[in-house]
């Protein structure tokens, strides 16, 4: 015999409320996907062109820049993990974190220490709960990231990468640029102020962090509404093969004759200095692209999770309604039989 009618009715009511809430979240997530997807696509020309320029410049010289050459005996690696701020997105965060753990195991098996950088409240909570040291964390924008958000994270990464595995980040007074090989490369009439603004200055939050020799990023790539894959990529030093592939894809057809044009390229300023300027922007672009992808994936994951939750809640309501009807019928039957029994007893 099922639970009493009153209890069943209460459960139906609350399940309906849940369904209403999850339905609303599903709709919100669905509308966000479209927007996030549009942003991913709108931002693509920039990163494609950027990769193309970087590849060209790399082929034409400057091949000893830290961004391009894998360091000998890398001792530390930085891992940027992109998670969401809020939960209720199915396996979204769990998948990213699992991949991050796998990558870190792989790195430490290769004899590298790892430094963790986390974006998103869920990832931060996960690592803090496990008492893992987190070198940098940024939260509060996982659903709608903008470029300044990416800049903040990327500049810290640039700083630790430039410092290198043996050193830690120093916030310099004057001579930081020399470490990266820059020269007074500016002449806009603003004097030394302008030249300082052009060379990279590590952000305050990076101060004192130990440097790294490699940078990896773990995020969820948005392939389509129905498919998102957790991806880990090395973003520095730049792996030219990958960059080649990317630029060939986008400029297919002209890759053949662009080969012979490489040699003619002119650089302003010379390649080494140009690379110093491009590197922070390159990392910003990569982090921003990862954030946009992750935001779209997050919404897609949430939409799917909430759709499943809504469907499940509706199934529950159906089942509970059936139980409730049965209970009501049973009650009526019992009342009738009591009345009939009573009447029969009086009649005798």
């Amino acid at each position: 015999m099922p639970a009493s009618l009153r209890v069943l009715r209460r459960r139906i009511r609350s399940t309906k409320n849940i369904a209403q809430i999850t339905k609303a979240m599903e709709m919100v997530a669905a509308s966000r996907i479209a927007k996030a997807q549009a942003r991913v696509q709108a931002a693509r020309p920039y990163s494609d062109e950027f990769t193309h320029v970087l590849t060209t410049a790399a082929r034409a010289g400057a091949s000893d820049h830290p961004l391009l050459v894998a360091r000998e005996e890398p001792s530390r690696a930085g891992v940027l993990v992109v998670t969401s701020d809020r939960g209720l997105a199915g396996g979204y965060n769990a998948n990213v974190l699992r991949e991050a753990e796998r990558l870190m195991r792989e790195l430490s098996d290769a004899g590298k220490e790892t430094a963790l950088f986390v974006i998103g409240g869920k990832g931060t909570a996960y690592f803090r709960f496990r008492n893992r040291e987190v070198s940098g964390e940024w939260t509060g924008f996982s659903e709608v990231p903008d470029y300044p958000n990416a800049t903040r994270a990327a500049d810290t990464l640039t700083a630790v990468f430039l410092a290198g595995g043996q050193e830690s980040v120093q916030r310099p007074s004057d001579d930081e640029g020399s470490g990266a090989g820059s020269s007074g490369s500016d002449q806009g009439g603003e004097g030394e102020g302008a030249s300082r603004s052009s060379s990279f200055v590590p952000p305050e939050e990076a101060e004192g962090l130990s440097g790294v020799d490699e940078l990896h990023v773990v995020f969820t790539a948005f392939d389509s509404i129905s498919s998102q894959t957790v991806t880990s990529r090395q973003i520095a030093p730049l792996q030219l093969d990958e960059a080649d592939g990317a630029s060939d894809d986008e400029s297919s057809g002209q890759s053949g004759d662009s080969e012979e044009r490489q040699a003619e390229y002119e650089f302003e300023p010379e390649p080494e200095v140009l690379f110093d300027r491009l590197m922070p922007k390159y990392l910003r672009a990569r982090v921003f692209a990862a954030l946009l992808d992750a935001a779209a994936s997050e919404s897609a994951a949430r939409q799917r999770a909430m759709k499943a939750a809504t469907d499940n809640a509706n199934d529950l309501v159906d089942n509970l309604t059936r139980d409730a009807n049965q209970a009501r019928q049973a009650q009526i039957t019992q009342e009738i039989s009591e009345i009939v029994g009573g009447a029969n007893a009086l009649a005798e």
Partner: protein, 132 residues
Amino acid sequence: MAEMEVAIVGVEKRLWSGQANFVSARTVEGDIGLLPGHQPVIAALDEAGVVRIDPTDGESFHAAVFGGFLSVTAESVTILAEQAEIASEIDVSAARDELQRAEGGNEDDHESRAAAARARARLRAAGENPDR
């Protein structure tokens, strides 16, 4: 008339693209003028600068470009910018306020000098004189 494919690509979106006869910009090493058939160049642009484009059809226009660089191939010019604004979209009075605020700030402050440079670039792109 020879022409080239020109695009201004911002971080978030492609701001402008089309055919043009002439492009001029200020790189970190000085002004550069580009006509169709220019030698391939990759150049870093001034942190806050103005780019001029003469489209094949239509009026010549300016754009304020921040943290950008320039890539020239035989048939195209691409300007990549962390932030860019086409002259017609620039709010002149807001830029003036910004310039005043930035210049009123601490002279030695890195931030406020950069902000002043940005406001100046905006005003120049909009065809105003920053120093009135």
